[in-house]
């Protein structure tokens, strides 16, 4: 049984979200997990992929297909699924992953299940799955009947776990350079410029996120949060009210309609904890809340809390950390 997984790259490494998708891919029976990478074959992160149980990687080089073109990427997956006889094709539930798998669903006429947390083969063409609805506030148990199961993985719900290859079966990985035949229509939409934030930490991948909500009080109140985030090697995220009020740009929003985060620590300051916000931060390993209201809903999701005004607590915390 073959399972095909789109792997996105983060510089020279597989993106953390793709490692999460590969972790789920390995649970599909006892599959041969093969991955598809768009990049230079000389720079394929072979060791990292082998660690996650990948046996074969298909590389589409920039000379064949330069940059990101969602429909072309989906066409490549469709061709490789046929070539390898894959019973499932999956990707991380990112903007790109969901988009490419949606195209793949449209190209093949097959159903696609977005943001799955569990997928189990159930004989023949059947897969049973659990997927996020309401951005993970609800779970849907569903049955997929299809010759090839197409789905994306809810990356905030699956932790990346390496395969733990045993001594008897050392990791080995076959690299295949794949040259797809693409129609002009597949290339009409392509990213003209893709610029990830250079050198910085992005909200989606940050190890620490310092969150600010209504309690920050206004656009001028974020400097101490920025200072704390920098001290902790993290970034600032905000609640929806902060972006609707125009205090901070929307790209900093954590929540159902913003970014879903998976940090080691989320420090929620002056955030009451509407469920749309919880949907964005539930993937945090630890949550600490700073809030004046001991009855705030965020306290039911936090591991620790300080009852108090963030305008006093944050500067004191910054001072204490600087003194260490």
């Amino acid at each position: 049984m073959t399972v095909l997984c789109l792997v996105e790259l983060d510089g020279a490494d597989p993106a953390d979200v793709s490692l999460r998708a590969l972790t789920l891919a390995r649970t599909l029976g006892d599959p041969s997990v093969r991955s598809v990478v768009f990049g230079d074959s000389a720079n394929v992160p072979a060791a990292a992929l082998a660690d996650y149980g990948v046996t074969d990687v298909y590389v589409i080089e920039p000379g064949t297909l330069e940059g990101y073109a969602p429909q072309a990427w989906a066409r490549v997956l469709a061709d490789l699924a046929t070539e390898t006889g894959a019973t499932a094709v999956l990707a991380a539930g990112t903007d790109r992953g969901n988009e490419v798998l949606a195209h793949l669903g449209a190209i093949t006429g097959l159903p696609m299940a977005a943001n799955c947390t569990v997928v189990t083969p159930d004989g023949g063409r059947t897969h049973r799955l659990v997927r996020h609805r309401w951005a993970g506030l609800l779970l849907e148990d569903a049955v997929m009947e299809a010759p090839v199961a197409l789905f994306t993985v809810a990356t905030d719900a699956v932790s990346p776990v390496a395969a733990g290859v045993s001594a008897e079966t050392p990791a080995s990985l076959q690299v295949h350079v794949h040259k797809p035949e693409l129609a002009e229509a597949d290339l009409v939409v392509r990213a003209a410029e893709s610029a990830g934030r250079a050198g910085g930490v992005s909200l989606a991948t940050a190890r620490v996120v310092v969150g600010g909500g209504r309690g920050v009080g206004g656009p001028d109140g974020f400097a101490p949060l920025e200072e704390l985030a920098e001290l902790l090697g993290g970034v600032v995220g905000v609640s929806r009210v902060v972006t609707s009020e125009g205090w901070r740009p929307h790209r900093q929003q954590v929540g159902q309609t913003g970014t879903k985060i998976t940090p080691e620590l989320y420090l929620a300051c002056g955030i009451s904890g509407a469920i749309q916000h919880i949907a964005g931060c539930a993937g945090a390993k630890h949550i600490i809340a700073i809030n004046t209201d001991p009855g705030a809903p965020i306290l039911a999701h936090a591991d620790y809390a300080i009852i108090g005004d963030l305008h006093q607590v944050i500067p004191a915390l910054v001072a204490a950390l600087r003194a260490r």
Binding site: P70, D95, L101, A102, S202, E264, Q312, L317
Partner: protein
């Protein structure tokens, strides 16, 4: 510029989300209904484009008769025409939904179709893309900045903390995200106009799709009560100790 905006009636969930005893839908006894923030922004974007470039905005929903409430909401914001693809309450899957919308697009003719990036409730992330394939049109998803010229659009979205841009010829399908604009509030004349406006109706057929919902459930509760470390700045030493213990400071 003829623009169609697709919206979906979904429960307004506030502090809590619950499922009906049969596990088939969200319990709406205590909630109202709305459209998702992404779709509010899609309506606003369409209205802004036609304010600048001329043309008109139609709004479409696929749902029960009660979804006329959401169509009137969009009419109040500046859409000029409303279309209800009426269902009998059963859920349409994304394939059937895209086919039903495509039929309306073919019948009326549009330059641009806007949708939210994903519906708030089902989160299928694919109706816009499937619609584009049905029509043979280009599509870009997750868009947070759109500039329209007669020949095409430039659409930008976030990518790893930066951004990426797409150029699409028209006609095209674009799915947008909250943040592309700040939606306006409806004006009083807008509300009055919306109340009187006619709603065009048709009843598309649904077909079983290969993905079948069995039940909805609330995730096993991760809810607990936080351990309170103390009050105000006095709690900071204890907070530093916890941060150290969690490995955050190493």
């Amino acid at each position: 510029m003829e623009i169609l905006v697709c919206v979906k009636r979904v429960p307004t969930v506030g502090g809590k989300i619950a499922v009906t005893p049969d596990g088939q839908q969200v319990d709406t006894r205590m909630s109202g209904f709305s459209i998702s923030p992404h779709e509010e922004c899609a309506v606003e974007e369409a209205v802004q484009i036609t304010e600048r470039a001329g043309g008109s905005v139609s709004v479409l929903t696929l749902g029960p008769e009660a979804a006329i409430e959401q169509l009137r909401g969009a009419l109040a914001l500046g859409a000029g025409r409303a279309v209800l693809l009426e269902t009998d309450g059963r859920e349409f899957g994304p394939i059937a939904t895209a086919a039903a919308i495509a039929a309306e697009v073919r019948a009326h003719g549009y330059d641009l179709v806007l949708l939210g990036n994903e519906a708030a409730d089902t989160g299928d992330y694919q109706v816009g893309v499937r619609l584009a394939h049905e029509l043979g049109w280009p599509v870009a998803t997750g868009i947070k900045n759109l500039s329209v010229s007669p020949g095409g659009v430039v659409a930008r979205r976030e990518y790893r903390g930066g951004q990426e841009a797409y150029q699409l010829p028209l006609p095209a399908v674009i799915t947008v995200k909250e943040g592309i604009n700040l939606p306006r509030y409806p004006s009083l004349p807008g509300r009055l106009r919306a109340k009187r406006a006619a709603v065009e109706r048709s009843a598309p057929v649904s077909a079983a799709e290969g993905l079948r919902k069995e039940t909805l459930r609330v995730p096993a509760s991760s809810q607990h009560q936080a351990t309170v470390l103390g009050n105000g700045a006095d709690a900071v030493p204890e907070l530093v100790r916890v941060l150290d213990e969690l490995g955050i400071l190493s």
